[in-house]
Amino acid sequence: MRIALLTEGTLTNAQRGEGGWCGRLVDGLPEHEFRLYRLLPADRPAPPSGVRGLHGVHELPMWGRRPGGRGPTALRRRAYAKAYEELVRALVTPGERAGFGPALYRLAELGREDEALPAFLSSGHAHRALERIWRMPGADTAGGQPLVCDVLVAADLLEQCLRPLSAPWYGTGPAGLGGADLCHVVGGGPAALPALVARELHGVPFVVTEHGLHLREQYRGYRSAPYRWPVRALLLSFFRQLTEETYRQAAVLTPGSEYDRQWQQRCGGEAARTRIVHEGTTATERPAAGKEPEAPTLVWAGALEPGRDPELMLHAFARVRAELPAARLKLYGEESAPGYLAHCTAIAGRLGIADAVEFAGRPRSSAAAWESGSVVVFSALAQRSPRLLADAMLSGRAVVSTEVGVAREALGPTGLLVPPRSPRALAAACLALLTDHERRSRLGLAGRLRAQERFAVEPVVGAFREIYLDLVSRYPAFPARPGTQARPFARPAEYWVSGGTTPPQSAPAEKAPRAAGPALAEAL
């Protein structure tokens, strides 16, 4: 099977040396042909993907200076402007949301014909169209009318976001997305744009895997972005529409946790097409942590920032220390908010626990960090990723965590959950574990077994093996062109059984979700 992996290239893929999540998937499924399509920042050196066994890597620079190129001819400009106006209208007018998808595909089609899309999007014509629609009555400008500077900034950002529409990746050649049997979007956002277009043009189905939702990160990131309200509103509306369209069109959604699934469902992801696939980690093969330290020690891990709430940990530890004077606390992690380490040190001093608290920075390895304590504590206000929790559980140490985000589903009954912002509850949970060796080791072992079962690599690979086969069996191997004769055995039997005699260009669009529902429910 030919599978196109679409992703926004990130740095840690390379830093981890083994190709990260995509690398593990490609390693685990050697029977398929993978091609990697990456969106990269234009103004930074591209890290190597680090994924071995690929049949090709295609890269497209995004976020930065626009690549050169001529604008459309005067005749075609009107078609461009019309499609762009439709797109903007869908972004700013609450009642016109349905126009987003068609406008997007129209722009992609136009851009594919003459490759003038980026130049058009940064031209004065596009600025005027954007301004006209944005200032029309009915547009949602509750937070203020857009000014000229807003129009310019928003047009620039939209141009950057829409750059994948004019990627040279479409077509049915060996390197084109049309030649793939399915697309696998790893991580949502603009990386889903090529998959959407390939689905529209060539009928290629796609799977979306998200661990930590792109849309949620945009909402969080834009709060501190240096843009005015109208620009934020327009761009976030773009990301929301894009995400909704992606979830609507995706054949299968595979969020990494129940917590992410709720968000996806909120944004239009159908429950019947969703299957939670936990993020696999190679740390499951690591041996359990060795002997506990002599003194009862709490280990806290995470970035030193207000969101991780080390202050709560310090306050709780002061209470623990009052009951158990031999207790010690180690905080691992680097400062993410400037000056926060000094702030925490000052709090420790004020609470009179400075001699028992150690700020240990980044550990040599996470295993070493867990081994240095008797109990691992997470006091964060929000846990969006189960990665660190799972790593701690794999050490075989008992875990205490605040009950936010993914903590409940990751820990289950194998750890103690306490409400956030409650030093008393956290201290009680820590004391309960520190003073009860039998309970500590029982919970630790249970946690290790649970994490080994949930976060191993093999279930991930197995899940995607099934998902790929299931998907391809429901879609034609390649789209039939009108006028060509049907070739025997070009399509799987399931295609005919499901009544796939209508032209497949439109067939997958309507039929697939309905056909997918029961089949997937069974698979689940």
Partner: protein, 341 residues
């Protein structure tokens, strides 16, 4: 035990009022509430099934009110004006030096080479592209830029811009060098005045750019255009006045054709910089090169002899057409906001 308040959401609303007023979408409030430690059981307390329902209620109950004084994008600081003046003056005085001291063909060649070099060095200015979309913590990718230990936003330094040959700046610089060498051969004092006048041209071009950047607060593109409509003509007029002053001080007693050449050569840098800012570097280079080539052809012994014109007259005649054409092509784009990014 106290009973629950009648309207528990009210409390939450008061503590998150700024967030709710500035939110663009209920999901933004939901994300922020989750960040502040509110989970599903927290939403129960406010009689909602989940955080999303609670966020929708908050979004509906608070009217949108963005921060009253949102900052406009910053314009170039005032100190860039004298710097730009200094840079342009240097780029014009440098080729004048060999032309005036050596003279003849070697001086002219050296002037062209120095002009091209100075054009490349001074023609580059920082690119004002808008930054990318802010990246959240995990960026959505499974192996996002987070491993949970903090300080994970270690991004590599931006790569140096790819070195391509800046043909337009090269051509413009070479043309300027040739024009100055020709003027220096005919009227050295006028050439000096023109080179000194380039300082005010640089100043005027930088002022024009700054003025354009400061008009970002205009409500519509039409209003922006009307504010910028007379900026370039005013800058040209001011430059002509400054050139007249410089010429009177430095090159008194120059014939009329010399004055014309001085004014034209002194205004060309302003027009060329404005054209380059407006995204037409090729037009700028073409105009300067056409003027220089025409002037060089007219300065050859043959044509000048046949026409019986003075050298400065030929120079003015060759530069007039390109200068006017350049002004004509630069004015319309210079009123648009795209020229001042």
């Amino acid at each position: 035990m106290t009973s629950a308040p009648a309207d528990p959401v009210r409390e939450l609303l008061d503590s998150n009022r700024a967030l709710c007023e500035q939110a663009v979408d209920p999901l933004e409030i939901a994300a922020a509430l989750e960040d502040s430690g509110l989970a599903t059981d927290g939403a129960d307390r406010y009689r909602h099934a989940d955080v999303f329902g609670l966020a929708e209620e908050l979004y509906a109950r608070v009217p949108r009110r963005p921060p009253t004084r949102e900052p406009l994008p910053p314009a170039a600081p005032l100190r860039t004006l004298p710097l730009a003046a200094l840079r342009t003056a240097t780029a014009h005085l440098l080729p004048l030096l060999p032309a005036a001291t050596l003279g003849g063909l070697p001086g002219g060649t050296l002037a062209v080479l120095l002009g091209a070099g100075a054009g490349v060095l001074t023609g580059r200015r920082p690119d004002g592209a808008v930054g990318g979309v802010p990246d959240g913590e995990a960026g959505g990718a499974p192996d996002g830029a987070v491993d949970g230990w903090g300080a994970e936003q270690r991004e590599p330094a931006p790569a140096p811009a790819r070195r391509t040959v800046p043909w337009a700046a090269l051509g413009q610089g070479a043309g300027t060098g040739l024009l100055l060498a020709l003027l220096a051969a005919a009227a050295p004092r006028a050439a000096l005045a023109a080179a000194l006048g380039a300082a005010t041209a640089g100043w005027a071009a930088a002022w024009l750019r700054r003025f354009g950047q400061r008009q970002g607060g205009a409500a519509t593109l039409g209003e922006y255009r009307s504010r910028l409509r007379f900026a370039l003509p005013l800058a040209v007029l001011a430059q002509l006045a400054a050139l007249a002053g410089t010429g009177w001080a430095v090159a008194g007693g120059t014939p009329a054709t010399g004055w014309a050449a001085l004014l034209l050569l002194g205004t060309l840098p302003l027009l060329a910089t404005a054209a380059r800012d407006a995204g037409r570097p090729t037009a700028a280079a073409a105009a300067v090169l056409t003027a220089a080539t025409g002037a060089a052809l007219l300065a050859l012994p043959g044509p000048a002899h046949w026409l019986g014109a003075s050298p400065t007259g030929g120079l003015s005649a060759a530069a007039l057409g390109p200068a006017l054409l350049l002004a004509g092509t630069t004015w319309p784009p210079s009123t648009g906001p795209g020229a001042y990014r």
